[in-house]
Amino acid sequence: MLPRPTTHSKALGPGVAGPELAVATSAVLDRPPQPIAHLPLSGAQPCAVDPAVLGDPRQHTKYPYVTGTSVMAIKYKDGVLVGCDTLGAYGTTKRYKSTQRIYRVNSKCVVAAGGEISDFQYISNLLDELTTEDYRIDDGLELTPQEVHSYLCRVMYNRRNKFDPLWNSLVVGGMQDSQPFLGMVGMVGTHYTDSHVTTGFANQLARPLFRERQQDDMSEEDALQLMYDALKVCYYRDKVSINKFQIAKVTKETGASISEPFALDMRWDYKLFAQPTKWAVGAW
C-alpha cells in the first residue's frame, strides 16, 4: 500500500511525492505497441544515413566554436538598418573584440550573421565570388537582396540536408526595387522576410521593442534611436556581448555602408545599484 501523499511536497520524505510514484502497471506494460510518429514499429533506427557518409573523414560541424551573438535589423522610411556587436566569443571567453559580423555585398545589400564566425566568413567568400562574377560581366546589373536571400536559403538548406550545416543565423538587408528589404535565413534553411528581424538574444529582448516602435515609414532619426535602444538592451542582458557595435545602413540615395565601431552610454547610476543589499543582508 503506497503512502497517501497529502501534498506534493518532497519534504515529507522519499516515496511520498514525485516521479518514483509513476510505476507502470501491467495494463500499461502489456499493452500492444502503439505507433509513434518519429519511430518505426519495426524498431529500426528512425533515420538511415548513407553508409558512404559514415566513412567520410571530414568533420561535420556539430557545435560552434567562435560565435557571434544577436543581430537586429529594422526597415524604416528610406531603407534598412542592421546592427550587431563586434564580439567573436570562444565559449564564454570574450576572445575577439573586433570581428566584423556585417558583410557588404554590393551597394544594395548587406548580410549579417550570428553564430559560427568561420562559417560566416565562408558565406562571405561565396557572396564575394558572386559579386566578382557580376563585376566581370559588367552589364550594370547587381545582385538584389531578394536574390541574395534566396541564394543563401538554398545554400543553408542543402548543407543541412548533408548533416553539415553552416552554423549561422543570417540577416539579409537592402533595397529591392527602391523598396526596403529585410529577410532572415536560419541554419536549417528556415527563412522569411519581415519589417523587423532579429537573431539570438535579440529575439527575446529587442523584438518587443521593435513590435511596439517600428513603423515602415519611421524617420531615420527614430530608427537609429530604436536601434540604439535595442543594442543597449541586448548588451545589458546578454552576457556574451560587448559595448562595441556596428550599424549598417542601406538606402537608395546613400547605397550600403557600415559604420565604424562605436560605444553606447549605458545607465549604471541607479541609486539601488550602489548598495543593493543594504536592507537584505546576504542576498544578491
Binding site: 576572445r95 541554419m187 556574451v240 559604420s259 565604424e260 562605436f262 543582508v281
Partner: protein
C-alpha cells in the same frame, strides 16, 4: 533558426559565474567582486552584491552556485552571531572560515560553493582564507576564484608583491577584476571592493561605466544624451551614425 538552441536558460540554475579577488597587504586586507549573475546566457542581475557580511569585520566573497553560497552565508552569519553573543567578543576570522569550510565539507555532494573568507580580527589582523568546493581550507596571502579567475592568474602571479601599501593593494584588486571582466562573459557589470584595516571597513563601489577598459574595448561615452555615440567616420562608404 536560433543559434542559442543549446543555451537552455530555462533549466540552467542561477550561478555567480564570477570573479572574486582578495589580497592581504601591510596593515589589512582588500577584496572585491564583479556584479554579474547569469542564467544560461541571460544576465539576471548586472549589479549584484556577491560579498556577504558574516560579522562586522568578516566577509564572504561568493562564487559558484548562487543559492548554495547564499544559504552558507546565512547559516554562518547566524552561528557567528551566536558565538559572539556567548563570548562577548568579535568572532575570529579563522572561526568563520572553519564554519564555512565545514558546511562545504559535510555537504560535499550537494553544495557547489567556492568562496573566500576575508576579515580582520584583533588576534591576527587582516586574514584571507580560500574555501573552494569540497571543503578545503587554505590560508593565503592572495586568492582569486570564480569563472573569471582563469583569465587573471598570470596578472596576479606577476603583479602581487608582499607588503604592498593600501593603494597598491586596492589597485591590484581593481585591475585584476577589470581584466577578468573584460574577457570572461560570465563576469561583468559593477565592481564592489572593500578594504579592512584596524580603522574599520571602507567600501568602494565602481559602477559599470567606470570600470577600467582595455585594448579592444571602447571607452564608455561620458556625459552626453542617452544614445550618445563614439566613433569616427572612416573608410570609403563609411559614415557617422547619429
Amino acid at each position: 533558426m536560433d543559434v542559442s538552441r543549446g543555451a537552455s536558460h530555462a533549466e540552467a540554475a542561477p550561478s555567480t559565474g564570477t570573479t572574486i579577488v582578495a589580497c592581504t597587504y601591510k596593515g589589512g586586507v582588500v577584496f572585491g567582486a564583479d556584479g554579474r549573475v547569469s542564467i544560461g546566457n541571460y544576465i539576471m542581475n548586472r549589479a549584484s552584491n556577491k560579498i556577504a557580511p558574516l560579522s562586522d569585520y568578516i566577509f564572504l566573497c561568493r562564487s559558484g552556485s548562487a543559492p548554495d553560497t547564499q544559504i552558507i552565508s546565512d547559516n554562518v552569519r547566524h552561528y557567528l552571531h551566536q558565538a559572539s553573543a556567548e563570548s562577548g567578543e568579535e568572532p575570529s576570522v579563522l572561526m568563520a572560515a572553519n564554519l564555512v569550510r565545514l558546511l562545504n565539507y559535510n555537504n560535499k555532494d550537494h553544495l557547489v560553493g567556492a568562496m573566500l573568507v576575508v576579515g580582520w580580527d584583533k588576534h591576527a589582523g587582516g586574514q584571507l582564507y580560500g574555501v573552494p568546493i569540497s571543503g578545503t581550507l587554505a590560508k593565503e596571502k592572495w586568492a582569486i576564484d570564480g569563472s573569471g579567475s582563469s583569465y587573471i592568474w598570470g596578472y596576479c602571479d606577476s603583479e602581487f608583491k608582499e607588503d604592498m601599501t593600501r593603494a597598491e593593494a586596492e589597485n591590484w584588486v581593481k585591475e585584476a577584476l577589470a581584466l577578468a571582466m573584460t574577457r570572461d562573459a560570465s563576469s561583468g557589470g559593477t565592481i564592489r571592493m572593500y578594504t579592512l584595516d584596524d580603522a574599520g571597513v571602507h567600501y568602494t563601489y565602481i559602477p559599470g561605466d567606470q570600470v577600467p577598459q582595455f585594448m579592444g574595448d571602447l571607452p564608455f561615452p561620458t556625459g552626453g544624451p542617452v544614445g550618445a555615440v563614439l566613433g569616427s567616420a572612416g573608410r570609403e562608404g563609411g559614415m557617422v551614425i547619429g
